[in-house]
Amino acid sequence: MSEKTTASSDTSRKEAAILPPVDVIEDSAGITLYADLPGVPKDRLSLQIESDTLTLEGDVVLDFPEGMEANHAEVSLPSYRRVFTLSKELDGNKVLAEFKNGVLKLRIPKVDHAQTRKVEIKVL
């Protein structure tokens, strides 16, 4: 799995978004991805897998009292977006997603035949 950094013509047209921090951990059976998306309600999170591209997107929804003015803003864009390219051995059809307290957990298993097999060495 690698990150797509070059903006394709499709993404460059979109608005600026925050790049959420992620952790990516790989074990023999698949990849686990955690992404921090604070302020995104479950129904405003979007996950898409299109051929080999995984796109995470979410909108920040905060409740503001009427007439609020900002004094200091470290989170100043209204959405998150990050795009990854999945390598062939990952199975995009069997992704499991959990979303709790603004943290997304994605489990992307490897296709069965791609799981590492120990090669036995016969000593003749």
Binding site: A70, V75, G102
Partner: protein, 145 residues
């Protein structure tokens, strides 16, 4: 910057003031005694209305029970801990960007903030603290008879 639809309502003057503050806070000019917290965890947005001070701390993946919010002598402190998810044995960590460990961030409150009238909610990974301003400080229209 102004071309983007911004999340936080702000006017041009606030933006200019922020730029000026950023310049003033650059390391060589006037270091803050508590260090340079921009980019720290949790990220914070602070706003206000005539009636209240609103603080948003972006702290995803933290158990609300482990968050500690204290107001003492006009200084608000948000602290807690975020633990890393266990990495299984023989697993490879390819990207490791998320914060883990203990954190603490401090905000100086305006003088009219009433620390007794503070409310805190945690939703979708954001801690929202709303502190009412003292009655006397709220603008009052004086009627002319």
């Amino acid at each position: 910057m102004l071309l983007y639809r911004t999340l936080f309502p702000r006017d041009v003057f606030a933006e200019l003031e922020r730029l000026q503050r950023d310049v003033q806070q650059s390391p060589d000019l006037s270091p803050n005694i508590r260090g340079f917290t921009r980019g720290g965890f949790p990220a914070m947005n602070v706003g206000g209305t005539p009636k209240s001070v609103e603080i948003y701390a972006f702290a995803p993946g933290v158990e609300p029970s482990s968050l500690d919010v204290q107001i003492e002598k006009g200084v608000l402190t948000i602290s807690g801990e975020r633990t890393h998810e266990a990495v299984p044995e023989k697993a490879a960590v390819h990207i490791d960007e998320r914060f883990s460990g203990r954190f603490s961030r401090v905000v100086s409150l305006p003088e009219d903030a009433d620390s007794a009238a503070a409310q805190a909610h945690y939703r979708d990974g954001v801690l929202h603290i709303s502190i009412a301003r003292k009655e006397a400080a709220q603008p009052r229209r004086i009627s002319i008879h």
